[in-house]
Symmetry: C2
Subunit: 459 residues, 2 copies
Amino acid sequence: MEPRIIKALAEIVGRENVLTSPEELICYGYDATPGFSRLPEVVVRPGNKKEVSRVLALANREKIPVYTRGSGTNLSAGVVPMDGGIVLSTVRMNSILEIDPENFIAVVEPGVIVAELNAAVEKYGLIYPPDPGTVTTASMGGTVAENSGGLRGLKYGVTKHYVLGLEVVLADGQIAEFGGRTLRSPGYDMVMLFTGSEGTLGVITKIIVRLVPAPTHRKSMIAVFHDLNGAGKSIADIIGHKIIPATLEIMDNYTIRTVESFVKLGLPVEAEAIILAEVDGDEATVAQDAAKMEKILRENGGQVRVATSAQERDQIWAARRAALPSLAKLRPSTFCEDATVPRSKVPDMVRRITEIAQKYDVQIGTFGHAGDGNLHPTLVSDLRNNTEMERVYQAMDEIFLTALELDGTLSGEHGIGLGKLKYMPAQFGEVGLDVMRAIKKALDPNGILNPGKLVGQLQ
Amino acid sequence: MEPRIIKALAEIVGRENVLTSPEELICYGYDATPGFSRLPEVVVRPGNKKEVSRVLALANREKIPVYTRGSGTNLSAGVVPMDGGIVLSTVRMNSILEIDPENFIAVVEPGVIVAELNAAVEKYGLIYPPDPGTVTTASMGGTVAENSGGLRGLKYGVTKHYVLGLEVVLADGQIAEFGGRTLRSPGYDMVMLFTGSEGTLGVITKIIVRLVPAPTHRKSMIAVFHDLNGAGKSIADIIGHKIIPATLEIMDNYTIRTVESFVKLGLPVEAEAIILAEVDGDEATVAQDAAKMEKILRENGGQVRVATSAQERDQIWAARRAALPSLAKLRPSTFCEDATVPRSKVPDMVRRITEIAQKYDVQIGTFGHAGDGNLHPTLVSDLRNNTEMERVYQAMDEIFLTALELDGTLSGEHGIGLGKLKYMPAQFGEVGLDVMRAIKKALDPNGILNPGKLVGQLQ
């Protein structure tokens, strides 16, 4: 990058917030997705919207790519600076600007960590429900840009259901505000357009979110199934009885065995599936729903253990939280995917993934959010082994196309980024993708914002 | 309109679905908004997406305006064909295509009436929550295009919170599908962009919506306040105690007097405000929340009556439902607006509206959804009286600018259309509005779809 650009950036954000040494840049050259990395030419850390605006105006004038980065936990190579250029880190914009308990609203800067927001609103008896697995690391800006999901999606929805307003800096440096403090805002829903746009349309500099009352009670249970069908039928029956658990998770045999070998929780390694569930709400509802759910799980052949203390509850969720770290320990390269299907197709999908693993001789553990069909087939492999990787990528292709075949979608929460770009035409067709590209072109005519991601390269 | 165009349209949709006689056209020349009317040149009633596609391809080639029309209940002149052209009625696309009780999903054509969908899903113990006042008349396509709200917004949200997928015909006749049967779909959120786009970006030909379990119990109550402050404090206290009623409505003194004079329900005509509320859910929660709510209402000076039978419940809601019809009977021209503020500002807003009515010597009754701040100041007047109308429009201006001043928004559910177009820069600024116009231009370069509405005329 030309020294005059570095100098101009330093004038905007201060010399101490411009990183150019290789040892600094290397931290910004990858995210949590294996197989994608590239060093940026420079990292800038603006402190406010005005600095963001000036950085973008400069980059737009000079046609330099800009990659906005929160905490870098992305799983679809969404923040890797594949064309070099500028990484714009939101780390310094990390203030909770306002908590408005009367209107159940919080206003935050993009660098606030999701768990920090939840900690801050707890004293008002409120929660911010979206809870991706990375909740203690991920930034609000990143989770909004990725429309992140989480364990409570079934009952509480995903990030988009909580974003009421956004302040964004556009590609040319202009600043706009959309939405606000009401449930609905007129005009085109730019708030929803920017939510999930993966940093390709603008830089989010302020976020207004909706909060909800914290549930006063909750009850967790774990059910072990020797037959996947019993687990599948349980999911259908629980929902069929109009019980909407906050969390309804599934783990397949491969995941169970892996977790048990690393964590020794006493999980039965021969089980075909485990369901982990939690209902929340007021005391009476929780008691009633938990009793019904336990009965359903047993009737479908599940061996059920209901947590009777906070410690037992923690133990149940420790098993679930151990899934990804345990799988990741098996082999050097972990691809945690999020192929998603309608809830009723979860057993089909789990079975199909197992068949795909056998067909391509690839190691796949599947766990995830059974209640909303958002599964995490996790392919463990070694990037250095070319012949294995060929099989891994073939298996991945087949997993995503199977999700589409089952009326599902390419991404339940991890985004498209670069990792899943090649499947986009299969979900949206060329017409649908062209519409998205027209939007990208309208808002970022020079294509400087996270170029090549989500909708691919523009003509 | 040239006869060759009429002929071409007849070839697409059949002669019987092309209306051209003045007595037919007159039905399509207005909506529920006073002060806006214009006859279309032709009305077409396509029966499926292919016919819609061919109509749009023709109109786009010939640069003829197309106004998509559901049931015409719009309150912001959103469907009035102000430039003549083609009205495209969705009345024939009126099938419920699928109900999927396992996944809580329904798939409908745009001409399905909202209440019909609810009637169809009832036997599965499910509801489609968005319930605008026009629920028995309004079409699904219209309510999606307007992102309609309703009485249950506080607890259940508005239309956008239930739309999972859309099939749309684009301005040039191409057909695209966005979203689907999962909670979240990747790529730009075109489903949310089309939801609330007021017919300016495409024609919706299929809608996939999310359903939720029907509450098994509900309890309604009415509380009379001699002091508006008591009503305002009650709203704050109810929410402050983390009670989220399905419905939490307010009526001001002017509305109370008007309703009482027409319907004779025994409402106290000297009361400054009435609150009407309903909690729903399972038996225990409803009992508990209703008891707490009754206590709060009494503590703040309310005289409370809790419905103990279905008949008493119906009576309470009859009062609420009578609000708009009663106000509309007072004078020839009724402007029912939807200026919306954060919940905590509702008492301020009601007071400011009363002051505005006095200042401009205009008759305004205010009622609406206190729980989500979506108020309906209803200005009753006579369009034929020019000097009165000048004052009415001045009052309207001040009401909307007051809503913005109180951190609110121009529209809680009725849309922008033409009626509120002039206030858009005050809410979004020229930068925000330019972004929306860039979107409009990208998707409808010839500006044929509902031209002049929502984002105004393009340069």
